[in-house]
Each structure stands twice: as C-alpha cells, then as structure tokens.
Amino acid sequence: MDELRASVRRAYERARIRQALPWAVPGLLLAGLGALANGPSVLPVGVVLTLSLVVMHWLGNGWDAGLRLGLQLGAVSFLALSGWALVFGACGSTCSSRCELFCLAVGAGAGASLARVAWIGETKQATGATWLTAWSAGLACLPLGWSGLVMVLVVVGVSSPVIVGASLRRA
C-alpha cells in the first residue's frame, strides 16, 4: 500500500508540473521583449521570472492566485518603462533624475495595488504578485541602472509592510 501511495503522489506532482509549464510562456515572452528592448543582459532576470511563474503555479495552495495580477502589473510596469526609454532614449546621466522619478511613480503605483490586495487578506496572492511584478519591471528597469533598482525596491517597499502586517494580523 505504501508503494501505491508513493506512486500516486509522484504522479500527482508530475501532473502539477505539467499544468504549471504553460505559465512559462508569458515569462519567456516578457524576457524576449526585454532582451529585444534592453539587450541580453536582462535574460537572467527573465529566467528568474519564468521559473517563478512555473514554481508558483506548481506550488498552488494560494500562491498561484497572484500569477495573473503579478503578470498584469509587471507587464504594465515593463511596457510603461520600456515606452519611456523608447520615447526619451535610454537614460543616461542627463535624464537619470527623470528616469528615477518615473520608476518611482510606476513602482509606487504597483506597490500600492499590491498593498491593497494584502490588506483585504490575500497575503499569499499579494506576496506572489509582488515578486512577479518586481521581476517583470526589472526587465525594463535594471538596464537603466540605479533608477531601475529604485523602482524594484519601491514596489517591494510599498507593499511589503502591508503584507507583513496583514500576515501578523491574521496569525
């Protein structure tokens, strides 16, 4: 009987991985767009994003609830920042302050949305979505240098205390 249980459990995990694999597609798409826009140096960020999507869906149990929200906010952040770089040219020292401000604004908006989700009790969803948003936006932000990192940190910084607070409140 133990052998049966073990083989059923293995089959169940394999099935969960098979169900999770299609979630790699949006990650690979964003990574490809990021590489096209900002060069191959962002590919490691794309790999982390893609793996995160697959792992979060495989884990399930509430962690997959943040997939869509994280991808939506991340894609919006990525497209906004990439569009900004396209319109104003890649940020160099002359426009770094504008880039930083823009990154701050986009990051704060995404972070506030996630904080609100955490506040209404969906902490796993908010945590997962924050992670994905940060890495998605990082595809556009990191090549911008420090301003990119600022944006990522703001996304995390705005939502994290709320996520932590909501978790402690429910504990």
Binding site: M1, L4, Y12, G60
Partner: protein
Amino acid sequence: MSRPLADDALDDAVLRVGAGDRTAFDTVYDAVVPKVRQLVGRWVGEGPDRDDATQRAMIAVFENAHRYRPEVGRALPWILAVAGWEARTVLRRRGRLREAALPEVSICPEPSPERRASEHELSRALDDVIGTLSPADQEAVLAALERTPRPEVSPATFRKRLQRALARLQAAWESSHG
C-alpha cells in the same frame, strides 16, 4: 487505513488537493482507496489486474483532481466514475470486455424494500411509456437498453434513430407524468 469522511469533508479535501494543498493528499487517499479498490475489483476480479487497475484509477483521480467542480456534484461519484473508466480501460486492453451488458456495480448497501418497490414502479411506468412509442422508436430504445438486439444498421444511423426516439420518449414521459 481508511477513515470515513463526510461527503462535505471529502468534497472540500478534493478541492484542496486540486488547488495544490498537499496536506489534503493523505485525507483524500485514505478515504478513497478502499472504495476504488472495491469498485475496481468488481469489474476486473481479483489478482494482479485489480492492483494494476487500482493504481491506474488512483493516479487518474489525483492527476485530474484539479478538474473537480463541486457545482457538478459530489466528489465521491466523480472519483468512482474516473475509477470505473480506468477499470474498463484495463479490461479492454486485456481483451475481456464483451458486448454483453457490464455488471452493475454498486458499493451501496442493498436497497430497502421501499426503494425496491419504487424502482419497480418506475420501471413499469417507463415500460408503459415506451409502449406508446412507434415500433421504430421502441426498437431503438430497447436496443439501447440492451433488452433486444441492435438493428442491422450503421452505428451513425442507429445513433440518429436513438436520438429521435429519446426525444419522443422524453416528450411522452412529460405528458403522462408531468
């Protein structure tokens, strides 16, 4: 070791397993495996075939747990339907599935006398309504119920005849029984 679970608890546990809650795995497994083994045993008999079919059935149940929807019905019938399908697959592969009607399988206790009486009444009422159909419709319905041999027509033709006959049977039933 089996632990009896209330229907609601099993439904909830299956939903949680489908959503990725690994803590519910053993709950569902322990509640379901004796019933699956019993059902599968009725189809394929004892021996290694039963173990093989039980394993296939349990794997199919857990691989498809994410497809279970409580609004469609209870988890246990859904699980037993999956198990029954896998048992039939084992039988078919071993070439033992015959054209004759398959045995009725039930893991429920023997029906009460009242239940038997109402089933008898229902069966008589159905026979009465079938009797009101045209000969061609009667032939199609009785062949589908495996009470008479199938007419010598192509499967597609039989399916169409049966579809029309069932529609007329339903209309006849509704007009006589509301």
